[in-house]
C-alpha cells in the first residue's frame, strides 16, 4: 500500500528564486521588468498606510505649552526634533521628534497636535538579481539564483547584511552579551533558540536580522507585534536614545527599523536542522538577504514569494540552476528520512521503517493511517501519517 506524506523543503541549493519586495501599502515602482538590480538599487517609492502622521505635544487650556520648532509648510526629516518641553525649572526635558520625512501641514493649538504629511520612502532592493514583474499594489518581484533556507515563521521586513554565525554556546544559543556594536548591519545566525534578551540586544545594536532554529511562543508574539507597531519615536525612546544622539546619525526608513527575524523550525527549544545550519556555516561572512515576511499581509502574491527566508545570491548569476523545491506531497518508502511533527516539540528527525495495511491505534486510542519510524535517538514508534513530513 502506498503512503503519502507532505514535503516541505527547508533548504534549496543553487536554485532560481523569485522574491517579492513588497510595498507596505501603495507604492510606485521605479524599475521595469528585465532591469538588473544590485543590493542597493532603489526599486520604487512607497507611502505608509497613514499618509498623515501626528505628533502630540504638551498643551493645556487651549495653548501649546511646549516650544514648537517648526511651522506649517516646513519640511522635516525622520527623527528631527519638532518641539521640546521643559518642566520643573528645566530639570525635566521632553523632545518630540518627527516620525517620518514629510511636510508639516498643521499645528493645532487646541489639541497640541502637529500633523505631518508623509513623504514617499525609497524601497531598497537588498537583493541582487533581475526584475521579473512590477505591480504598484504589491511591489517588485526580483529573480535571483542562489541558496535558500525557508523559515517556518518570521517577523520584520526584507533586510540584507553580512552573515555572522554566532552559535557558540553548548546548545547553539546566542547570548545577548555576544552581540555588540560591531554587529550593526549584520545578520546573526543562532543554531537554537532565539530569546527575548537576544532580540532586544539586536534592536539596541541595530542588527539587520536574526535567524534561529526556534523561539518561545510568547517571545514571538511580542516581537511580531513590536515589528508591526514600532515607529521611529518609540524605537528611539526604547533602544537608540544614546547611540543616535550624534548630529550626523541617519535614521533608517520605516521597514529597516527592526531587525528581520526568521525562525526555521517552529516554537519551543529545538535546534535548526543540520542542512540549514550547514548552509549558514558555508556562507558565513557573505552578504545575505533575510526577509521576515512581515511586509506582506495578504496572500495575493503567493506565499512562496513572500514566505520568511534567508537567501544567499550566487556570485555567478548566469549559470544554469534548478528550481526551488516546492511544497507538496511525496510517496514514502522504508528508509526515507522524515521529520515527525508534534505539538510539544516542532519536530523529531526519524527514519521510516514500515507502514500498516490497516489503520493503527495510537496511545490516545485514535485510529489513523500510521507510519512506523525510528528516531535519531533509536526510539521506535507508530505515528500518524499526518504528523510526518518528508525531509529534504
Amino acid at each position: 500500500m502506498a503512503v503519502y506524506a507532505l514535503r516541505n523543503p527547508k533548504v534549496t541549493r543553487n536554485a532560481v528564486v523569485s522574491r517579492l519586495r513588497s510595498f507596505p501599502a501603495v507604492g510606485e515602482p521605479g524599475v521595469s521588468p528585465g532591469t538588473g538590480v544590485q543590493w542597493d538599487t532603489i526599486l520604487g517609492m512607497y507611502a505608509s498606510r497613514q499618509r498623515l502622521r501626528f505628533v502630540r505635544v504638551e498643551s493645556s487650556g487651549g495653548e501649546i505649552q511646549a516650544t514648537v520648532l517648526v511651522g506649517e509648510g516646513q519640511n522635516v526629516k525622520r527623527g528631527e526634533v519638532v518641539a521640546y518641553y521643559s518642566y520643573l525649572f528645566g530639570l525635566g526635558f521632553t523632545e518630540y521628534t518627527a516620525p517620518c520625512d514629510g511636510e508639516v501641514v498643521s499645528v493645532s493649538r487646541m489639541s497640541g497636535g502637529i500633523s505631518i504629511k508623509e513623504a514617499p520612502v525609497q524601497l531598497v532592493s537588498n537583493l541582487p538579481g533581475q526584475v521579473e514583474q512590477v505591480d504598484d499594489a504589491l511591489g517588485v518581484w526580483i529573480r535571483s539564483r542562489g541558496d535558500l533556507v525557508t523559515g517556518a515563521l518570521g517577523a520584520g521586513f526584507g533586510r540584507s547584511g553580512v552573515l555572522e554565525v554566532k552559535a557558540k554556546g553548548p546548545g547553539g544559543e546566542v547570548r545577548p552579551q555576544d552581540v555588540s556594536l560591531k554587529d550593526t548591519g549584520k545578520v546573526i545566525a543562532a543554531r537554537k533558540r532565539v530569546t527575548r534578551e537576544l532580540l532586544e540586544a539586536c534592536l539596541k545594536y541595530r542588527v539587520a536580522g536574526v535567524i534561529g532554529g526556534s523561539i518561545p511562543g510568547e517571545v514571538f508574539n511580542w516581537y511580531r507585534d513590536l515589528a508591526g507597531q514600532l515607529d521611529w519615536d518609540e524605537i528611539l525612546a526604547r533602544y537608540w536614545t544614546r547611540e543616535l544622539k550624534e548630529k550626523d546619525a541617519v535614521p533608517p526608513p520605516p521597514m529597516e527599523i527592526v531587525p528581520a527575524l526568521v525562525v526555521t523550525e517552529g516554537f519551543g527549544d529545538v535546534p535548526m536542522s543540520e542542512e540549514g545550519f550547514g548552509l549558514l556555516l558555508e556562507h558565513a561572512g557573505e552578504r545575505v538577504f533575510l526577509d521576515g515576511g512581515g511586509a506582506f499581509q495578504s496572500r495575493g502574491a503567493g506565499a512562496a514569494e513572500s514566505v520568511p527566508c534567508l537567501f544567499v545570491p550566487a556570485c555567478d548569476q548566469g549559470r544554469a540552476a534548478g528550481e526551488v523545491g516546492v511544497r507538496g506531497l511525496d510517496r514514502l518508502n522504508p528508509g526515507d528520512r522524515v521529520r515527525v511533527l508534534g505539538l510539544a516539540e516542532p519536530f523529531v528527525e526519524a527514519t521510516v521503517l514500515e507502514f500498516s495495511e490497516d489503520d493503527v491505534a495510537l496511545e490516545t486510542s485514535m485510529t489513523v493511517p500510521g507510519v512506523k519510524v525510528q528516531t535519531a535517538f533509536g526510539k521506535t514508534m507508530w505515528v500518524p501519517v499526518f504528523n510526518v513530513e518528508k525531509a529534504d
Binding site: V26, R49, L138, S298, A344
Partner: protein
C-alpha cells in the same frame, strides 16, 4: 437499482475518497480513505486525490467488493476556496447580506467593503487588488426608486470594485462579479464595469429592507466557483477524474443541514472540525446560516482555562504556535491530546461567537419591541437567532469527527458550544451531510439521519443552574418521575440502559428561565435509540472557575472518562 458513487472531498487539511452506493434514499458506505492535503500555497491542491482514490479502490479490491463508480462527485474547500470579497452599501445591512450569501454558498470572505468601513477609496482599491480571490459579491440598494435622486452610494462602491478587481489565478482576465444588488442599478453598473467584465446577475439579496433572499446569490456564487475551478491551474488534477463538476464543500454540507432540519422539523446546529478551521452551520427558525472561523484565531488565555494540569500550561504557548503552523497534525500522547482538546474547545467557542453575530435577525428593519425586551439585545443592532436552548440537536462533522473518541467530541461540544436544555449530540463520521447535499442537487433526498452516529444526550440546565439541582431534572417513565443525580458544579455520566426507549428526560425551568419551551416551562425529550450515554452538566457559566480551572477541567474529564485514570492521577500529582 443501486448505483455506485465515488465521492471525493478535496479539503484544506485532508483529502477524502469514499465509495458509496445509492439506492433510492438509502446511502451505503463501502469504505473510505484519506490522505493529507498539500498546503494551501502548493501549486497543485489536488495532489492527494489520486493517492486517496487509489487507496480506497485498493481496500475494496482486498475485500473482494467489485466497485465500478457510475458517478463521481467532488467537493472542494482546499485553499479556503471559494475565496470572496463581499461589498455592500451599509456594512450592517447590505454588506452583511452579501457576506451571508457568500458564506452560505460555502465561501470564505476575505474582506467586506462598504461605505462605512472606515477606509478611503484608494485604500479599498489597494486592499482589493492585494486579494487572491475567486469572485466579488456585490449587494446594496432595494429594488425600486433608488435612482430618484440620480445617484446612489452603490455606484461609488461599484467604481471601487471596478478599479480594484484582481486578476484570476493563471489568467489575465479579472475575477467575476456576482451582482446581487438593486435591479434598478444594473444598467449603470454594466456601464461602470465596461464591456470586458464578467458579471453574474443574481436576484437582489435585499429587494426590500424587510426581507433577505439569499438563494439566488448563493447559487450564483456556487455556480461561478464550479465554472472557475475548471480553469484554475491548482485544480487541474481533477481532470484525472474525468473533469466532474466540483462544488464548494460548505455549500454541500449546508444543503445537507438545511434538508435534514426541514425533514425533522427542528432547529439544527452542525459543527465541522476541519483541521485548520471550524465551520458552524445552523438552521434555526427556517433561517440557514454558515460561518467559518480560522483556527489561528485561538487565543492562549482561553486555552489555559481548558487545561487539566499546570505543567501543561508551561509550554502551552509553544504548543499553540506549533499547532497553528501545522493545524493538521494529530496528538500522539495523552498530554498532547489534552492540549489538542483545549485548542479545539477554544476554536469552537470563537466560532460560536462569530456565528451568533452573523446569524441575526435583519438589521435595517423597523421593529416594535415590548418594554420587557429593552435590555435583551445580545448583538448591537440585531438579535441573534442562536440561543442554545432552541437547538435540540448538534451534529459534529469534519474529519476530526471520525478520529476523536465520542467522549472527546462531546467534551468539545459541551465546553465549546455551551449547549443549554436537553440536546442530542451526534457525529457524522461518514460525511453523510455533504454527500446528501450533493445528492439533493440531482433530486435524491438521502436519509441522512440513519448514517449519523449518536454520541450522547446532554442535559444542561443553562443559566441559573446553581439553583437548579436534582429537584428540577428527572427521567419520566410511564407516570413515574425519578430525579436525576444532577449536582451543582459537576458533570455526571449516566449510561442509557437497554430498553430505555420509553424514557423521557424532563427539565423543570425555574421562573424566568427559558430552556427552549418558554420562560418557566417544562422541557421534555424522549431518549432516542442508539444513544449510549446521558451527560448531566451542572456546571455554572463559564464552566470552569478561573481560580480552580485545572481541578474543574480534571473533574469534568474524570466524569466523562475521556482519559484513563492513571493519566488523570499523574496530572493531579497523585492527589486525586
Amino acid at each position: 437499482m443501486a448505483r455506485d458513487v465515488l465521492y471525493v472531498d478535496v479539503g484544506s487539511a485532508v483529502t477524502t475518497a469514499r465509495a458509496v452506493s445509492v439506492a433510492g434514499d438509502e446511502v451505503e458506505s463501502h469504505g473510505f480513505s484519506f490522505c493529507p492535503s498539500p498546503p494551501a500555497t502548493s501549486d497543485d491542491l489536488t495532489a492527494a486525490v489520486s493517492p486517496a482514490v487509489d487507496s480506497v479502490m485498493g481496500k475494496l479490491a482486498r475485500l473482494g467488493r467489485a466497485f465500478d463508480p457510475q458517478e463521481i462527485m467532488v467537493t472542494v474547500s482546499a485553499g479556503g476556496e471559494p475565496r470572496t470579497v463581499c461589498a455592500g452599501v451599509v456594512r450592517g445591512i447590505s454588506g452583511e447580506s452579501a457576506r451571508r450569501a457568500a458564506l452560505s454558498a460555502g465561501a470564505t470572505v476575505a474582506d467586506l467593503i462598504a461605505v462605512d468601513d472606515g477606509r478611503q477609496d484608494f485604500e479599498r482599491v489597494s486592499d482589493l487588488r492585494r486579494q487572491e480571490i475567486s469572485m466579488v459579491v456585490l449587494a446594496g440598494g432595494v429594488d425600486e426608486e433608488i435612482l430618484s435622486t440620480g445617484r446612489h452610494q452603490l455606484f461609488s462602491i461599484a467604481r471601487v470594485i471596478a478599479e480594484g478587481l484582481p486578476r484570476k489565478r493563471g489568467s489575465k482576465s479579472r475575477v467575476p462579479l456576482v451582482y446581487a444588488a438593486s435591479q434598478e442599478g444594473r444598467e449603470e453598473v454594466t456601464r461602470i464595469f465596461g464591456e470586458g467584465a464578467e458579471i453574474i446577475w443574481a436576484d437582489n439579496v435585499r429587494a426590500t429592507l424587510e426581507q433577505e433572499n439569499l438563494d439566488s446569490a448563493r447559487n450564483a456564487v456556487a455556480q461561478a466557483f464550479s465554472q472557475g475551478i475548471r480553469i484554475d491551474p491548482r485544480f487541474s488534477g481533477l481532470g484525472r477524474l474525468g473533469g466532474p463538476v466540483a462544488w464548494p464543500t460548505g455549500h454541500a454540507v449546508g444543503t445537507g443541514v438545511e434538508d435534514l432540519s426541514r425533514r425533522l422539523g427542528e432547529n439544527l446546529l452542525a459543527i465541522s472540525l476541519d483541521g485548520d478551521a471550524v465551520q458552524i452551520l445552523s438552521s434555526i427558525k427556517g433561517v440557514f446560516t454558515r460561518t467559518v472561523t480560522q483556527a489561528e484565531r485561538v487565543d492562549l488565555k482561553g486555552v489555559l482555562r481548558q487545561l487539566p494540569a499546570e505543567r501543561l500550561a508551561e509550554h502551552a504557548a509553544d504548543m499553540l504556535g506549533n499547532w497553528k503552523l501545522h493545524p493538521y497534525i494529530l496528538p500522539r500522547t495523552w498530554d498532547e491530546l489534552a492540549v489538542f482538546l483545549a485548542f479545539w474547545k477554544e476554536a469552537v467557542k470563537e466560532a460560536m461567537r462569530d456565528h451568533r453575530e452573523t446569524a441575526i435577525e435583519l438589521r435595517g428593519v423597523h421593529r416594535q419591541r415590548q418594554i420587557s425586551e429593552t435590555f435583551k439585545v445580545d448583538v448591537a443592532g440585531g438579535d441573534t437567532l442562536v440561543r442554545m436552548e432552541r437547538v435540540p440537536r448538534i451534529i459534529v462533522t469534519g474529519y476530526l469527527s471520525r478520529l476523536l473518541s465520542p467522549g472527546s467530541l462531546v467534551s468539545i461540544v459541551m465546553d465549546g458550544a455551551g449547549p443549554s436544555g436537553i440536546t442530542a449530540v451526534l457525529a457524522d463520521p461518514g460525511e453523510t451531510l455533504q454527500l446528501a447535499g450533493l445528492l439533493s442537487r440531482s433530486g435524491t433526498a438521502a436519509r441522512t439521519e440513519a448514517s449519523l452516529r449518536p454520541l450522547a444526550f446532554l442535559v444542561s440546565p443553562g443559566r441559573g443552574e446553581e439553583r437548579l439541582g436534582a429537584r428540577r431534572a428527572f427521567t419520566l417513565r410511564g407516570q413515574i418521575l425519578d430525579p436525576l443525580p444532577l449536582k451543582v458544579g459537576e458533570v455526571a455520566m449516566l449510561p442509557v440502559e437497554a430498553g430505555a426507549l420509553d424514557t423521557e428526560l424532563v427539565l423543570d425551568a425555574r421562573a424566568g428561565v427559558d430552556l427552549g419551551e418558554g420562560e418557566g416551562r417544562r422541557v421534555r425529550a424522549r431518549v432516542k435509540p442508539g444513544f449510549p450515554v446521558i451527560y448531566l452538566d451542572g456546571r455554572g457559566r463559564p464552566q470552569v472557575r478561573p481560580d480552580r480551572a485545572f481541578q474543574d477541567v480534571r473533574k469534568c474529564y474524570r466524569s466523562m472518562r475521556v482519559f484513563p485514570d492513571e493519566v488523570m492521577s499523574g496530572w493531579a500529582g497523585g492527589r486525586e
